[in-house]
Amino acid sequence: MKLNRNPQLNKNGELIHLLSTEGLSKDILTHILDTAANFVSVSDREVKKVPLLRGKSVFNLFFENSTRTRTTFEIAATRLSADVINLDIARSSASKGESLLDTIANLSAMAADIFVVRHSESGAPYLIAQHVAPHVHVVNAGDGRHAHPTQGLLDAYTIRHFKGNFANLTVAIVGDVLHSRVARSNIHALTTLGCAEVRVVGPRTLVPSDMAAMGVRVCHDLKEGISGADVVMTLRLQNERMSGALLPSSQEFAKSFGLTRERLQWAKPDAIVMHPGPVNRGVEIDSSVVDGPQSVVLNQVTFGIAVRMAVMSIVAGHSA
């Protein structure tokens, strides 16, 4: 019987699509981070472009809106010399009833080489990856609650940049873990990369106890959760994904789990503070912390470009 291999890898074990950080080896994750390090300095050159994707077309397919992620993918592809086509699918074919695979078939006929896909349905990028031609690559830019692998990788890159390595680190992920594809992608990446301890911190309704099965420590108290942490990663409270009475109010959440300057002192003195954006100031994190000396939120955005360049150039160099 043929074993079901990871759809992100070809038969030589090389990365051809990036769909999730789950199931990727430490070697592959490290190769992406090392490659990204090469791309960070491209923006310091006189010519802020490298020709790796010259003559290739990158289609940004955003079935769900996201200005920041789409823009950083666009900048990344442009710096690799690719042609970038942005499709605001939310307002076009899909709303006219065209199926996802019909959309992809039509776009493939326009000679796409890489699809960057964001979709509100978990698994949509997998479906697309299964139906594209062998030379076409899919990069998941966030699918439902499932995964946001480039965010997980850029967070890992940021942590490695500031902390050197993962071996002795305690990373606390605070907030709405239940709805967060960012949290899931981070957990898979950080545990594979060898973080000593990954904690998920939040109220029981947003941090289910069964998450311990992912190899993390579950904490329902902020002080316990961030005490001694090297990295405090706050997540956006996702009001648009909330259904039912998971929280009394965002103010209630802020009272117990909002990261303030005083509470940040529970973490290590040299702890870095991260946030995937966009930030709800005064809810999951105070302005004084976002703008404070321990915040690396804007570094995350800058490194995000280099990590996306790395991912696109690595997948484009392999064939199915």
Binding site: D34, T35, V42, E46, V47, P51, L52, I314, H318
Partner: protein, 177 residues
Amino acid sequence: MSTSPAGMSIHLEAEVLYQSLLRHVRGWLVQTGQPVELVGIASGGVWLAQRLRVDLGLAAEPGVISSVMHRDDFASRGLASSVQTRLGFDVNGAHVLLLDDVLYTGRTIRAVLNELFDHGRPAQVSLMVLVDRGGRQLPIEAAWSAARITLPAHQTLQLARDEQGHFSFAVDTAEPA
């Protein structure tokens, strides 16, 4: 050093060739009479540049340059891991001496020149290598090489450096496909 037909072992004294390179670069720097930036091509060329800096008593860290971003075999071989390009000087108007262990097809040099020009417009670029193994596929030549040999295409030649910093050459013969 010797030229050999396919299948025979090649004996190249990397240390002897390095001393020859050192003498030549020392004389050349005097003759040139202006500041020259040493730039090693990753990875063998970087070792050469670092050792030349020490032996010549130069103050500036030599530059490091990688061909990875401009390789022409990216579509078939993917992106190789490599050290980063770090030049540490203003390329505009600079006199650059590129150093590499082995000159073969010329494709690495073509990629490195593109990489260099992404950082500015140098006044002059020269190339010196330990070994020119022939087999050029592009109109690129070194200004000077410590040795010239002929190697069949299925053999690879690479500089190695031991813990004491001594150089040697490794010759590998690829299995027939």
